[in-house]
Symmetry: D2
C-alpha cells in the first residue's frame, strides 16, 4: 500500500509503496494530522525516532482518522475511529493498567516515532482496544483529538497533583484559580480552552501581540491575553502551563509568576537555553509549596474526553473550531504533501493530509 | 515569667522576665527542643524572623512539651501536650480547613519565628484546639514530634502527588519503590524511618562515611547507606527526598538519580550554589513525567501521626530512639542554655532545654 | 411583582402579586422548569415544604433561567444565568466549602421548597456567586441543567466511592463497566446520557416496553433497554442507579443484579413498599463488598458540568435534546400554568413556564 | 507432616499426617490463631468451605506465624513471617494489582477455608511475596495481625468512601467525628483501637454491661461504652461499624443512629433475622446521603499496617494487648486442641495453637 515513510536518523520523507505485516481489525485511513514532531523527524533532528524491528523504514504519522472496515465486539463497520498513538511496554504496572503515558521502563512504542509504524498510509490493522470511536458530528475537526488527548491527561494530572491541598475555591469550583498558559500555538490554545471548560480563570501569553484571528479566538473563549515582552508585571497565578517550547527563560518567568502552592506544568519541550535557580529561588520552592511537574501523553480515557470536548466546543466556540484546520492537502498531490511535512504554514493550527 | 527572648533582626538571646497577654488554657512548659532555625534567629541570620505586634521582643522556641493545668472539653488537667507551632491566616481556604501548612496568603504566624511568641518560657495560655496530647510512654522523646510532624505531612504529600499514577506495586505495597534520602541529620533519619514504616525500600546518603552511631541506626531501621562522595553511580530511585539543606549540587544529583515518574521532594533549605538545568535536563523532566515539589510544615493531623509513630518506634527501634536526645540542659544553667542555643553539638540529633 | 405562590402544608397554587425583600444582583426570570417536587408541593403532599421566615407564603420554583440586569465582577449585564437552588447552612464544613449537597446540619434552605422563596416570579435579586452563566447556544434546553446538576454530582460521587478499588478497566476507561439505570423518566434518561458520556456500558430499564420516542432516544444515545417485567434475568451489573422512585421492590431487584464490588446509587425517592433483606442478603453485602449510597443535590461545580454536557449533547444527540422540552406554557395563560403545575403531561420530559 | 484437617461439608477435625505438594520458600509454622470461621468449618456449618483441587481434605487455619527457613530476596532465614490468607484469581484487575480483597470473579482461594490448604501444619512452602515480616518485639501478639489486617482495610475503605465529602474536621483531624462500633468481641475491640489511633471519637456498644476486663480495656484505650439494651437513646454518629455479627436488628439500630452523610460499615456476618426498611427509611438514605458498605478482607499493605499498629499498641496499651491472647494450647495436647477448635472460651479474645 501507499505510505509516507522516513528513515531515521536520515532526513527526508517519501511517498512509496510498502508492505507491512499486521493483525487486527482493518481500518482505512481517511486523514492524518501533521505536528512539529513529524517535521523534526523528516528533518532528521529527532534522535529518539527509530524504525520498527525487522524494517528499514518507519511509516510516519501519529495523528489519524480512519473508517473501521470490520465489525468488532463494540464497534460497527463504518465507524470513524482514531487509533491511539502510544502503546505500553506490557511490563510495568502503569502500562498493564492502560496508562502507557506513565510507562516506567521506557519500552513503550509510539506510532510513527519510536519502534512502531505510523498511520500515514492507506490502511492499518489494529487491536480494536486501541481504536477510539469518533462522533460523526466532529469528523472535520476530530484530528485535534490526538493532541488534545495529551492535554486532557495533563490537566487531569494537574488537578490530581493540586488535590494534595484545598484547591477548589469556597464555591467548590475552580473559578477563583488563575491560570497562565505560555504559548499561543495549537497547544496553548487547546490547553486554554480546556482550562476554561474546567472553570478556571485563564490568561494566555506570548512575546508579541496576538494576530487578528488569535484575538477573536481569545474573545470567543474568554481568555485574557498577556504580552510578556511589554508586561513582565507582577500578576501572580495559581498555575502556569508552559506550552511554548521556546527557551529556558520562559520557565524562569513562569516560576516567578507562581503564587504560594503554585503548580508549574511543563508540557512544551524547551528548545534552548539553561534554567538557573539561585539559592533564594530554591528556598522559595520549598517554603511556598511549589510543584513543577512534567506533563506528557494521553491514553484511551483522555482520547474519550477529547472527543467529548471537541463536540462541545464545536457548538460553543464556532469561530475557534472553524479555524482549527488551517489547510488540507491530498495525498495525490505529492509535492504539497512533502512541502507541508517539512514546513510549518504561517498561522497554522493544524494541517491535514487527506487520503 | 521567665522566657528566652530574641530581638530580630538583632543577634543574641536573653533569659529574662517578660509579660505576655494571652488567653486560653494554661500549659506549664516542661521542655523545649532546639533546631537549626532557632540558632539562625539567635545569630541574626534569619530575615523572616519578626516580633509579634505590640512587642519589642520575640520569645524563641517552636518545639515544646507542657502539662495542661486546666481541664478542656477533650483533655484532662495533667495531660502532657505539645502546642502546634504554625497558626493559619484565617482567610484562605487551606487555613480555614486546618491546613496552615498550605497557607495561600503567607499571613500565617509561627511561634518563636514569625509574629507569635514562642514556647521557651514558663507557661503559655492557648486554645486547646492547638494542643496535641502526648502518650505518656514517649514523654522522653515526644519533643521529636514537632520536626516529625513536618515529615509526616511531607511523605503524605508525596504519596498524594504520586497517586496521579499507579505508584503502589503489584502487591499493593510500596515495597518495590526505591527511595533515597539525602542527608543523615535529624531530618534525614526521621524521614528514612517514616518511609521505612510506610514500606518503602530506603537508602540514605551523605558525602562521608557514617559514624558508628549512624551505622547502628541504619542497621536497626533497615536502611542502605550511600556515600555520594565515592559512589555517584547509576542507581536510580523512584523518589528522592532532599533533607541535607546543603548546596544546590545535591538537587542536581537528585534529579539525575530519578527513574521515570520520579518524585523529588525538596525539604531542606539549600544554603549555597545555583542549580543549572540544561535544555536536555528540562526536556527530560517532561518526557519522564518528573515532579519536583517543595515540602514544608505539618499541621494537627501530622502531629497526631507523629505521636503514633514515635510510640511504635520506641518499641521497634530502641537503639535509634534512645539516641534521639543528644543532650538536655536545665533552664537554670543559663550559660549552657545560651551555649546550646548558639552552637550545634557534634553528632547532635536533638538538644533539649528542661524547665 | 407577579409570582406563583403556595402555602404549605396547604394544597393549591396561585398566580398573584407579592412583595419580597432581597438584596443582590437583579435577574429577570425568563423561564421556569416544573418537576415532580413542585407538583407534590402544590398538592400539599410534601411535608418538608416550608415558607421563609417572616412570610406566610412560599414562591414556588427551583428551576429557572434569567437575564442578569446588573454587571457583576465576573458576569456582564445581559448574560443568561441559572440560579442555584440549594443554599448552605453556613455552619458545617461542607457548606462552608461550597458543598451544601452534603450539609451536615440539615439547616440549608432550598428555593421554592424549604425556607427560601423560589424562582417562579418576575425577577430575583441574588448573590452573583449563586448565578451560573448559561452558554447562549443552549438557551432552549438549559433549564435541564438544574436536574442534571444533581446527576452530575451523583455520578461523580459514584466514581469517588468506587475509587476505593480498581474500577477503571484494563484500558483505563470505564468501557468494561456495565451500568443499569432503573427508570426511563427525565432523570433516568439524563443519568444514562451522562454515564454514556463517561464511557460506561449503559442499560436502562422499565417495567413496560419503551415508547417510540424512548426507543429512538435509546438508539441515538447507545443505550440497551431492559423490560424488567418480562426479563428479570440474571444479567449482572457493576452498578445500578435507581431513578424510578417507584416501590421498594425495585431496590431489591437492583441489589440482586449487582456484581461483586457493585454500587447501588439511590436517587429516586421510593414511594411505597418495604425493602426486606434476609440474613443471606445481608451477608452477601459484606462478602461481596457492595456499597449502597444515597445520592442527592448538586452544587455550583455540578451546574457548570451540566452546562458543558448540555452543549455537547445538543450537537451529539439532536433527536434526544430536541425532545427535552415537552411543552411550554406562558405565565399569562394562568389556567394552563395551574394545570401543568398539578398534572404531569403524558410522555413529559420537561414542561416549562415562560415569563 | 502433622496437620489439622477437616473434610467439609462434613463436621469434625483431625490431627493427622498429610502429604501436600507445594513450591516456594520453606516456613516452619510456630503458631496458629483460631477464629469463629475455623469453628464453623469444624462444625460443618460453613457452606463455602471447599477442599483444594486433587485433595480429599483441607488443612485448616488462616492465621499463622512461622519462621522462614530459606533466604529470599528481601527476607533473611530466621525472620518471623505471617502468610497472607487470601490469594487472588489472577484474572480481574483488582487481583492483578494485589487487591484480592476486591476480587471481581470470586475465584480467589482462601487458606484453610476455600480451595487452598490452611496453615495449621508443621510447615508450608510459599511464594515470599505472600509472607509478611513480623517485628520480633510483637512475636507474642503478632497473630492478631491477620484479623487486624481485615480491619485496616475496612477503615481505610471507610475513609476512602467518606472522602467523597469533607469528612476531616475544621482542624483537619477526625477528632470531631463520632464513631460507634457495635460488638465488644475481638473484632469490636480491634476496630475501636484502630479508629482511636486514627483520631476518631469512639464509642463501643453491647447489649449487656461490660466485664471488668472490658471496662479496663475501654478505659485504657479511651473508648466510651454504650449498653444498647438500656440506652437506645438518640445519640447520633458520623459512622457505625457493625462488628457483632448478631441479628439483623443491629443494622436497623445502626441506621437510625447515623447523622447526615453517615457511613454504615458492615463487617460482621449477620446470623439471623431480617432487615426491614420502610419507604420513609429508604427516602432518608437518599436525602441524608447515607452510605452502607460491606467490608471484607485485607491484603498485603493491610498486614503491614497491622504490624505497625500492633507494635505501637504494645507500648501504648499494655493492659489491652496483654489480654489479647486468652489461651495457648500445644499441638501435642491433641485433646485440648480439638476442644478449642470446637468451643469458644468464655471471654476469649484469641486462642492460639503452638507448634
Amino acid at each position: 500500500m501507499k505510505a509516507i515513510t522516513v528513515r531515521p536518523p536520515g532526513a527526508g520523507a517519501r511517498v512509496e509503496d510498502v508492505e507491512i505485516e499486521e493483525r487486527g481489525m482493518k481500518v482505512r485511513i481517511i486523514e492524518n494530522g501533521i505536528c512539529g514532531t513529524d517535521r523534526e523527524i523528516v528533518k532528521g533532528l529527532m534522535s529518539a525516532a527509530t524504525v520498527p524491528e525487522n524494517y528499514d523504514f518507519l511509516v510516519l504519522g501519529h495523528e489519524a482518522l480512519g473508517i473501521l472496515e470490520d465489525d468488532t465486539d463494540n464497534l460497527k463497520r463504518g465507524t470513524i475511529v482514531m487509533p491511539i498513538n502510544r502503546r505500553g511496554c506490557n511490563k510495568c504496572i502503569n502500562c498493564l493498567n492502560g496508562r502507557a503515558d506513565f510507562c516506567e521502563t521506557g519500552d513503550f512504542v509510539e506510532a510513527g516515532i519510536k519502534g512502531m509504524h505510523g498511520f500515514m498510509r492507506e490502511y492499518i490493522y489494529d487491536d480494536p482496544n486501541y481504536l477510539v470511536p469518533v462522533p460523526p458530528q466532529i469528523r472535520d475537526i476530530a484530528i485535534m483529538a490526538q493532541p488534545l488527548s495529551d492535554l486532557e491527561k495533563s490537566i487531569a494530572e494537574m488537578i490530581d497533583v493540586q488535590g494534595r491541598l484545598h484547591w477548589r475555591c469556597m464555591d467548590a469550583t475552580y473559578g477563583c484559580r488563575k491560570m497562565l498558559v505560555t504559548g499561543t500555538g495549537t497547544i496553548g490554545i487547546l490547553i486554554s480552552m480546556l482550562l476554561k471548560t474546567y472553570g478556571f480563570d485563564v490568561s494566555i501569553a506570548n512575546r508579541r501581540e496576538p494576530t487578528d484571528v488569535e484575538t477573536r479566538i481569545f474573545e470567543e473563549v474568554g481568555l485574557k491575553f498577556v504580552n510578556t515582552s511589554v508586561h513582565r508585571g507582577d500578576e501572580k497565578y495559581d498555575g502556569v502551563i508552559e506550552a511554548s517550547g521556546s527557551d529556558a527563560s520562559v520557565i524562569e518567568y513562569a516560576i516567578r509568576r507562581l503564587k504560594n502552592n503554585g503548580f508549574l506544568g511543563l508540557f512544551g519541550f524547551t528548545q534552548s537555553g539553561t534554567l538557573s535557580l539561585s539559592t533564594v529561588d530554591l528556598q522559595s520552592l520549598v517554603y511556598r509549596s511549589i510543584s513543577i511537574t512534567g506533563l506528557i501523553n494521553g491514553q484511551k480515557p483522555h482520547f474519550e474526553m477529547a472527543m467529548n470536548h471537541l463536540v462541545q466546543w464545536k457548538t460553543q466556540y464556532p469561530f475557534t473550531t472553524s479555524h482549527f484546520i488551517t489547510r488540507s492537502v491530498n495525498i495525490s498531490d505529492q509535492k504539497s504533501v512533502l512541502n507541508v511535512l517539512e514546513n510549518r504554514i504561517p498561522g497554522e493550527i493544524k494541517t491535514k493530509i487527506l487520503w
